[in-house]
Symmetry: D2
């Protein structure tokens, strides 16, 4: 791998597929802005004061058109920005091109190798001599992970002279992370610690990344404050649910053109993502079966007329399998062998280990036939029948389609902007310790409010006497923190 950073005429660094797609990207950016009222309202409200003046923001988040509008909202508020994607297949190259040309340093293209992926992540965090970023926008936690692992390695090296050993792990991706850190130690033994010292905080987008953060908080390993954007209602109950309801069938259709009506579809997991997927498949005319470990979520599915079975019960009968669990080892190669010819197997959870891709790839005699990028047919030697695996087991909505639509991402990203502002504004106040925080209810409600006008909604206002009666301020917040929506 010999990747090199390129520079725009103005000297900004980048590495994208094809800068000439910038015009196309800009046209789609223009359309997306109309669909992202929350972000545009942030520009209007905060832009004039330039609150991010002097702030360096690094983002590791799917480099799509919607993310491009987020990036340009951050720059419109005064920030300098560097960006990489958080998934090897999720970049939209025209979006990356437009941003690279016009707004920020971008290192991302559709179809990176894992080595390229982590090279991009490094570039994104590398602000040159002055160290790292002030703020991180994270999705899945890979940027946060790299810094934490880097600091850990540097401290161990300082203490014992030991360098990380890539061979110490079976996980091919973590092998690369350790290699990067090991190689980094050769040039700068304080690289990640300098980053840590500068860092004001991170805002994290996903269920998966947030789980990692809480684990680090628990164990005392968390190195800087974190805002859990995922658990804003206007994120997890919108992006995860309605976003997937939109983008799961979109990905299925673009990848396979298969008719969903009449098919038997298995959704593994019935959290917010699973609920969105199951709703989409059901509405499209599939018969949906859900697998769950949690009896409450299972009972919710049952109340919607959805059958709860185990994967083993249905593996030979279903046509479409979707994993949404956030856990690993959900669909194993032994399951895949028993599936119907041309059963579709895909994942819409953050990481690709929900599907046993390693087991599939190393299955003796298995044959991979690439129909088109991100759509592979794998044929088993015994049966000569095949299954269709989407996006190599990675996020199929971003690998095979364009991810969630702009409007719902506007909700998520407005939370991101508000979280970044909060971290930056309070950087000296001590308000945020090395812990994980969620945004307060009134900001969550504000994000929602910014999206109502676009849809023609008219809210009702409490009267004074109603407000008194239920002890809720006229201007909100309207619900207690634990309210479930």
């Amino acid at each position: 791998m010999a990747l090199s950073v390129e520079k725009t005429s103005s000297g900004r660094e980048y590495k994208v597929k094809d800068l000439s797609q910038a015009d196309f990207g800009r046209l789609e950016l223009d359309l997306a802005e109309v669909e992202m009222p929350g972000l545009m309202a942030c520009r209007a409200e905060f832009g004039p004061a330039q609150p991010f003046k002097g702030a360096r923001i690094s983002g590791s988040l799917h480099m799509t058109i919607q993310t491009a509008v987020l990036i340009e909202t951050l720059t419109a508020l005064g920030a300098e920005v560097r960006w990489c994607s958080c998934n090897i297949f999720s970049t939209q190259d025209h979006a990356a091109a437009a941003i690279a040309r016009d707004s920020a340093a971008v290192f991302a293209w559709k179809g990176e190798t894992l080595e390229e992926y982590w090279w991009c992540t490094e570039r994104c965090l590398d602000w040159g001599e002055g160290g790292g970023p002030d703020l991180i926008v994270d999705d899945g936690g890979d940027a946060t992970l790299l810094i934490h692992e880097g600091v850990k390695a540097e401290e161990e090296f300082e203490k014992s002279g030991t360098v990380p050993d890539p061979e110490s792990t079976d996980n091919p991706e973590f092998k690369i992370v350790l290699t990067i850190i090991r190689d980094g130690l050769k040039t700068d033994v304080r690289r990640y610690r300098k980053m840590k010292e500068r860092l004001v905080g991170v805002s994290e987008e996903t269920t998966t990344g947030v789980k990692r953060l809480y684990q680090m908080q628990e164990s005392g390993a968390l190195l800087f404050p974190a805002i859990n954007v995922n658990d804003s209602v206007t994120k997890s109950k919108f992006d995860n649910l309605y976003g997937c309801r939109h983008s799961l069938p979109d990905g299925l259709m673009r990848a396979t053109d298969v008719m969903i009506a009449g098919k038997v579809a298995v959704v593994c997991g019935y959290g917010d993502v699973g609920k969105g997927c199951a709703a989409a498949l059901k509405q499209a005319g599939a018969r949906v079966i859900v697998t769950e470990i949690d009896p409450i979520c299972a009972l919710q599915a049952l109340m919607e007329g959805i059958q709860i079975l185990t994967l083993e019960d249905v593996v030979s009968d279903a046509d479409i399998f979707v994993t949404t669990t956030g856990n690993k080892d959900i669909i194993m190669v032994d399951h895949m062998r028993k599936m119907k010819n041309n059963a579709i197997v895909c994942n819409i959870g953050h990481f690709d280990n929900e599907i046993d891709m390693n087991g599939l790839e190393t299955y003796p005699g298995v044959k991979r036939i690439t129909i088109k990028p991100q759509t592979d047919r794998w044929v088993f030697p015994e049966t000569k029948t095949g299954i269709i695996v989407l996006a190599e087991g990675r996020l199929m909505n971003l690998g095979c389609a364009t991810g969630h639509p702009s409007f719902v991402m506007s909700c998520s990203f407005t939370n991101q902007v508000i979280a970044q502002l909060e971290l930056w504004n309070e950087r000296k106040s001590g308000k945020y310790e090395k812990k994980v925080y969620v945004l307060p209810k009134h900001l969550d409600e504000k994000v929602a409010a910014l999206h109502l006008g676009k849809l023609g909604a008219k809210l009702t206002k409490l009267t004074k006497s109603q407000s008194d009666y239920i002890s809720i301020p006229v201007e909100g917040p309207y619900k207690p923190a634990a309210y479930r929506y």
Copy 2:
């Protein structure tokens, strides 16, 4: 009012409509038991140990068939029980008869006056010489309110000799409460304080009652521990949502036989109850419009294709109006005057003050035509057109139909049983202070689990390595406390 308590041959007190309906009630109880697996599982698991041996439980909760199964679960676990309804229209007389004859002291009938209602509540709390109950099962908080107001009055009387003045309030219902307490002071100035001293705690069922409890906790007025059963996921996200989705159309159909398809229906409020109502109306073919104060709930409705407008925008165009807010003064007489001829107006929130019944009843020249019990047509003098008001503005699903079906009430009531057990078992441990508690997640999940078998569901089990990977015990709890489902 000259009500008198009656006694069964075994000497148990009661006052019901017609004890001869007990056989019919028993037949429906038998059916309901099959639909209430959670309660039956409690009987099987806890019955042999008789954990409630010696405990007196007073319940103020709609005296329906489902509640009858709850009562007999409490008695099967060893409790002595007295019961009243928490709504003047919600009693099913055959259920009351069966319980009165076979299991517990019941004071409830369909169509009580407000005076009769509070007389029943008093009887329910009156355990004779020994004072009051050990435990209260509450729904809406009227039993809890009576004790708190009673104690307050007794303390004031002791301090200053002042007795409560019913004329001090405009609220006709609170006038009755004050009268009862004032009259009570004449016979026993420590009546309610003795109750308070004996009381181990209360478990409360509704959004409305829980709100009252938190207000009392806030102000330091809460006299005993309380378990908020409403906010168990298996209560609020099931009973409130799926229960109403079932019982709202049931009430509409029984009361009016009107075709829902093609109609314009306005649902005021899009909380769990409103979501259930809107879903039911939409699925039945109505065009649904929601009114909301909360931008997040409003955005949820929009994502389901439901229009958000104010009541004023649609008052002249809609055919069906349902209030679900938990607030007061939602549909005023001025709205009702502008409605289409035979528009249906009803409430499915806990209290009847969502609809301005007082404004309607006192409107000059208005004419009330009772089509059948709980279905009235009110004709305005100016237009000669009328509106149909259900259950006099009270809970229409209980007033006009039979309330939520057994299966979903089994979820709610299993929470009640578990909460009562928890309070009783920990009565001496000091675990519970004079605060409001929710049940821990693992008990919530247990309630769900008890209801899966009946629906033929098969849960997936975490492997050890999956459990480690996501740091969730194989046996649960599977979600953090703040998870929204």
Copy 3:
């Protein structure tokens, strides 16, 4: 059986349950009129000309509130009317009372025996000395059947002196028909032939009745012209579909209060009625399985995500069974024995022979427990488990609830009024032979148009040039006869 006809003060004959319910019936009639814009428009358009002046109309059709509005539309247009129900359980007694008191001769009550049922049918056709009716409004074809069987018997008797032998049939209902005819022969050997001679024609409402008519047309046995109202689009695609979507859950709820969500429901047959039932159950949260003989209807169900299996496949797993086939012997006692405890078995097809009630009633050792009228639990001796049978296997929506709501019945009944007008107006023109006719498309479209205003709809109008382009008149008809909607 010693039934006697009663008379109103004005001398009109009737036999109803309780005339004192007439006021209640009138109140509900007033409400229903607002929901039946098609019938009210007929009164406005045709009433002044009194087109039915001199016409005698006999109707055999569920004596409900909606039918009462139909009857009073016929009388408002000048007809004299006699009426009976076409089902022993479907009469609403307050509707019958109001009509008997105010408008027409009614012979109907809820819960007739089969003997009483056919006595009522006879009374309905008996116009005294002058013979029978000029027109018949039929639902299921029992009035038409009686006349055809009567004529056949009279002709046989004239030819050979043979009288019908009730013992010649196993069918208990047909036994009664033959008895009536045999007894009639004793007093008047031309009774039914006189009826036939006077009769202008019949309009028939149901899939079942229409099938009988076409069979008679085929075999040359049809004695008078018939208009097939069932196959008006505004009947079969509305009443059958949307009517059942409304009234199936209504019947289930009123009869059993059972929660539909989460249950497994089997719908036998996926015609218009089955489609409505399946839609209702699915929307209420049941998992629906359909049984079908017709591959096209089966494929339609599959496209909606509904599984197609045989009854044998699912008989032990399902909670609710509904027959909608129009065929016989769908659910046999051997199926019922294998069902889960308290499985619900009901029929919404016209006749009660879809469910093997005879097999059930005569099953050795079976025990019937009547929970309430029209809701019976049948317990099998081997298993001690029971099933719940609704309305003794007859139309459950009319037996356990109030049938289809007014609005959709307004569509059906407006077709009836138009068909009756057509037959009467053309009685001398020879336009109609002894065949079965459907109403022309423009009248079908007119029925729909009369129902749009109530729902606030605004139609688009073709321009002249658009009309030319697609060769469709601006005023319609808009579709070819074979169009399927």
Copy 4:
């Protein structure tokens, strides 16, 4: 335009975009075969007998992957085939390449000009010296039109020496047709008459094409027998309805990535296509409004909770507009001017004249910005706001996505194969006159039956006694011809 026919190494003619895409096309063809059980069953049942031996079939039908499976079914049954698309944007170039290389003469590519389109149509009909095809597979009727117009012109020329004048029409497309015919007359004055003489018949696929055929039958102009495949239930109630329910959102998503949830969508027309579109939009969370001229279809929409308004009522409020009428001049430039910024305007009806593209293109000062192929933003000079027009007003599901999915097209195309077989087998029997026919019910049911196994369905079988009772053969057909499904 200087187009030239190319030849494969085996000498078969073709003109496609890129023959090197044939491998990719073949891979997708392999997948599609698994999803098209009806066509594969035809190959298995009829292939061995080679019934089309000696038959030349010309097809004018969207040259997609699905059509490729149809073509190879025809060749598998012995036919020689030439093919063109019936829409300038609908060809999938990899499908065309695979067929051109492997199976039949293809003249089609995505993005033809109108001149190229008609050149392709000519090539498709041109079988060289021996005249034209024996059979035509038509979609929209353009191949049929060309022959009819050609014959008319030749006859006029023979009679009067007059040649067609392209200037006699305003319609740019018809201008091209006349030019082709005029130029043809120079080389062969019996070209189209020779085709007519050889032609055994046509089978036609679309509502639009069928309408043309019935008009020609009416006026006596029809030159050969035609089978109306569109009105097979398994075509119009599946392809039109469920196909569009799938492919409308697919087209919207691929073209615009816009979130459908929360939007206001207007569907013009509520026939089968409109019903499918409205269902898809509603299920995706849009609020749907329908415009209709037909009161019956309007009432159907209302029963589903869909508002019926005119385009004028909603033109300024809606976000998405879809035309499905089969009529012209539905959305005019005056409507488009009043729309919201970035409103999406598209057509899913057969012809592009539902949207006033001419009015839009010639609007003074309008600016067209091509976002990507088939997605244009048109900006009005007065407001600077734009609308998004898909596929230049042509079939958006084929222009912006890949059309209907394989499974539903298998239903349609199995009808085509059966119709072609029927025409060919009866070519000498005189069974078919110069009229329009539909396939008999039992063949329609057979098509459905061939698609059940793939979806795991199990049909119920009538018993002999049931069959007798309802007078329906055990093996079907199960419904009368007029049954509406």
